[in-house]
Symmetry: D2
């Protein structure tokens, strides 16, 4: 029976990471397992920045954005000697398993430890929703609501002045955030990396709307397509109409997690502990068909994430 495990957060922070750490700590406590928090992701793992986490450490944490364990970029973890040092730290501390919360990049680091025989389980935590193998990642629902609330505000101005706005949203190479936000905010057009865009078609749709009496418009562009100001320039060149730009930026990453993200994080955290208790290693937690499941971690970086393109079709039909 396992006695002590560790948990770290890695990559870009996401709302719900704290809720996941809390669930790891509480689920472990329920089974009499000690938990060590690793600060600053793989960097802290390598430097031995460990702290004991008990039930008190995670009080009032479920509603907090960001990650209290901190996160850091640490490309040095690609080196074998660095990985070995991390492993030595884990073993010296009597740690028998590790939970890694982050994106697919964080899973790569995890697999190097697994390859050296150390059990690691991954939890998908990123607002981009771009981890292959799971329908949702922790943080996506919160970021989505943040984006939609921001666009609701921008629409107040767009409607008052009858302006066109381009809103650039995050998502790296994935269009999920843009796509869901477009549908939820009732945007006129969404540009996502998964689908080639046709400038003439966009312009025609805007003009059709205008002819029908619609005098403002919101065009959402995923950062993976092109910068917001760029598409605004292209549209202005075609339409001759001033197009404003709003880049939502880093506020998309923060904030108190939504109920959905807190529940998902709790499910994932508890399930990751179960997997470690069962002796599983190199597994990633996810949700498919409304069920919490696990799968081989490498799937997450060998496959590509697939957006739900039925939403794209729906969005096009509803923004008639």
């Amino acid at each position: 029976m396992m006695k002590k495990i560790a948990v770290l957060t890695s990559g870009g922070d996401a709302p719900g990471m704290n809720a996941a750490v809390r669930a790891v700590v509480r689920k472990a406590a329920y089974h009499g397992i000690e938990v060590v928090g690793v600060k600053y992701g793989y960097e802290g793992l390598t430097n031995g920045q460990f702290e004991e986490l008990d039930l008190g450490s995670v009080g009032s944490l479920i509603q907090r954005g960001g990650t209290f364990l901190n996160s850091a970029r640490f490309p040095e973890f690609k080196e074998d000697a660095v990985q070995q040092k991390a492993l030595d730290n884990l073993q010296a501390a009597g740690i028998e398993g590790l939970v890694v919360i982050g994106g697919d990049g964080s899973y790569r680091g995890a697999m190097t430890l697994v390859a050296k025989g150390f059990p690691v389980v991954g939890i998908p935590g990123t607002i981009d929703n771009d981890v292959p193998g799971t329908e949702y990642t922790i943080g996506f629902d919160t970021a989505l609501n943040t984006v939609v609330e921001a666009i609701d505000k921008i629409r107040d101005t767009a409607t008052s002045h009858e302006n066109s706005f381009v809103v650039e949203v995050m998502g790296r190479d994935a269009g999920d955030l843009a796509l869901w936000a477009g549908l939820a905010a009732g945007a006129e057009t969404v540009l996502i990396p998964e689908e080639a865009y046709d400038l003439d078609d966009i312009v025609e749709r805007l003009e059709r709307g205008a002819a029908r009496g619609k005098k403002h418009s919101i065009i959402i562009v995923a950062e993976g397509v092109m910068p917001g100001h760029k598409i605004a320039e292209l549209l202005e060149a075609k339409t001759g109409k001033k197009t404003r730009v709003s880049v939502l930026g880093h506020m998309q990453r923060g904030g108190s997690p939504t109920a959905r993200d807190r529940v998902l994080a709790s499910q994932f955290g508890a399930y990751a502990v179960e997997l470690l208790m069962e002796g599983k290693a190199g597994r990633a937690v996810g949700v498919r068909n409304h069920q919490v499941i696990d799968y081989d971690m490498p799937e997450a970086f060998q496959k590509n994430h697939e957006a739900d393109m039925s939403l794209y079709t729906l969005m096009k039909e509803l923004s008639i």
Copy 2:
């Protein structure tokens, strides 16, 4: 090919109903079908309170709480003569299909029209998430977040004063809202209709927490179990400790819908139109395994809604 359909909202209002009506109107417009809005649910259907809905009618509606078509209780719709009058109104207006948005009670009314040969499709819209056959109803996600935000606020006071609070939440005979909120708000205990509660066990858990240094607690009770003040009295009698009560009440029904509810409402609205176009009648729209599906409407009132009891187990383990 269908030329004109109608849409109504019935039963308790839920955030996202407007987004669903908007999707019905826009999807229909996309296919060249006219839409008539029926005011005041079945009452308006019987009285012929119809209004034309075009793309302009549903502008800036996706983010609005409540239902702009209004809703009403109308027990008279059980009578055959009343149903016949409604049917006459529909036919006189050249309406060939009807979309009903509401809970399972609303589906009963719909089935009487189906029995008379009129095509009706149902969309589950209620914050209670208690419509059998679908994992989620429109409005649940918004109400859940409203509840969780309220409990986050109550916890500020509970923590400051080290008090115990009972929070009563809605849900009629279903515990979903209480259960999800309990997990998401990190409540100490949740009482739901689906699971018998043991007062001694609750008290023991609270005392175990207190012994460990936890000086405040939040107990969530679904309205279907008993009123909040009642459970507070029972707890006070056992613990001798003052227990405060908060009944969240009707604010749980309102507010701008979350992104998730807007997307779900859009999917349901568009899908309902497709079903009518395909000549389907007496079908209810739902979501299962992450897919929008349809099923025979009577399932929704012949079966019982099942809460996801894995969340109950998880909640118990995490509130250790």
Copy 3:
């Protein structure tokens, strides 16, 4: 020159209390003065529950609701021996001045220490806005916005179903919260302790509105007038119309403070330190005519708080 001061929060918690403590600590640090936090208000003062507060202790605290120093009821502080014990604790710890954050009740406790020669300065912190001598107290603006957001949600339902709602809000003997909320939420009627109500007049106004086509209504009642369900019964008896009740309850006390409350708390905290540095004692901080000012603490419990009755007149005219 003062070297060490203490700060405590007392009475009901209010959003912004943490921001005020933060300002005390930072302003003191700016002048090289040490700060001790007293836990649990006067109870902790009596029991010597002190903790050093430095710049790090108050990091990320400005946005937090509640009070991290905790608060407690402690009627025993009326006894001279208890006061003397508190005084001994303060002197034993080398503390030369005290900042008390709370309502007028908290000021009474403070004055007993002042009477014994110990310098105390008071900061008004309560959501009720009922401290005489200051136009605003810390927490009022946040609670007001919480109430208004809740009523906005209730109005969604009231509009959809064309119902009448009574909403009971906090405020003890003061009507400020009810009055401001009534104006801001566009309520039909507000009942406050400062103004006798006339049931017939209320009913007549509601009926006049109904005759004009207004089919829903929101009546706000301050808890100091009567319980919400009581006025609902009175109205139902007169109108024969079902009137729903919502008691907003303890969620009104919590939540992240608004910008306004954070700024006010920062001004008050810093100014309190200045007063102690100048050797002032028995002074209360406040805001009048848009200026931060100070006045003799007893004014706060010898006079009565006055609501801005011009808002009442305005509310009546606008809810025509």
Copy 4:
């Protein structure tokens, strides 16, 4: 006795404009005066885009962002012939007075009508809080809270990754939004147009904080000082540390108004009607020393707006 007045919104939209129009309509109705809404500001005044506003027109409007009367830029209003056309429209419609809601630019247009003998009263509506003669403008409190909530979110990420962030906020030539937000969000530094900045001093403060263990920082820059990316570049050049930039953009203008903005808007709207009823012309409404007052409109563009520099000093002391 006046029988009919008009109201328009002009310049950038601000949350609370709708609440002000609602107050104009309701106060006028209370006195039996008809109200005409002018669409698109001065452009609609010139083109005669008028619509009758009654109590029903302004229902459920108090909580709505933007301006339902729309706003527009219309430099042509500088021409005498254009002004005359507007005047003719007003007189042809039997309108005897006009309420203009906007910034000081909107007051200039108003004064040209006053010079021609037509009574106009101005209400300050802009998020920038930059109208001389009044302590607050409608929309400022809402925008301030929007900014602070966004920075709270950005701080989650800044804290998790220990990053430095520059946040650019609106305000044209006024620093109020940046200054208040800096104080309320606990920013490390604020740059406003009213005060020369010293790059070396900023860097020294950041380094002093870092030496003390503070590893993240938020620098707020008012758009009137320089673009966010520019100050980030200057800081990076000095510190050698990556500095991220977030330009909050147009979302600052939208959203449901705060309670404070709704109350202020209601007071201003009602008072403007009173002024017209008393035969006043060329007066601007404002708030000074906690009192609603009026003053000669030209003051608003002949004087400069003054920020409350005591907040700047306070901010510097508290961000030690």
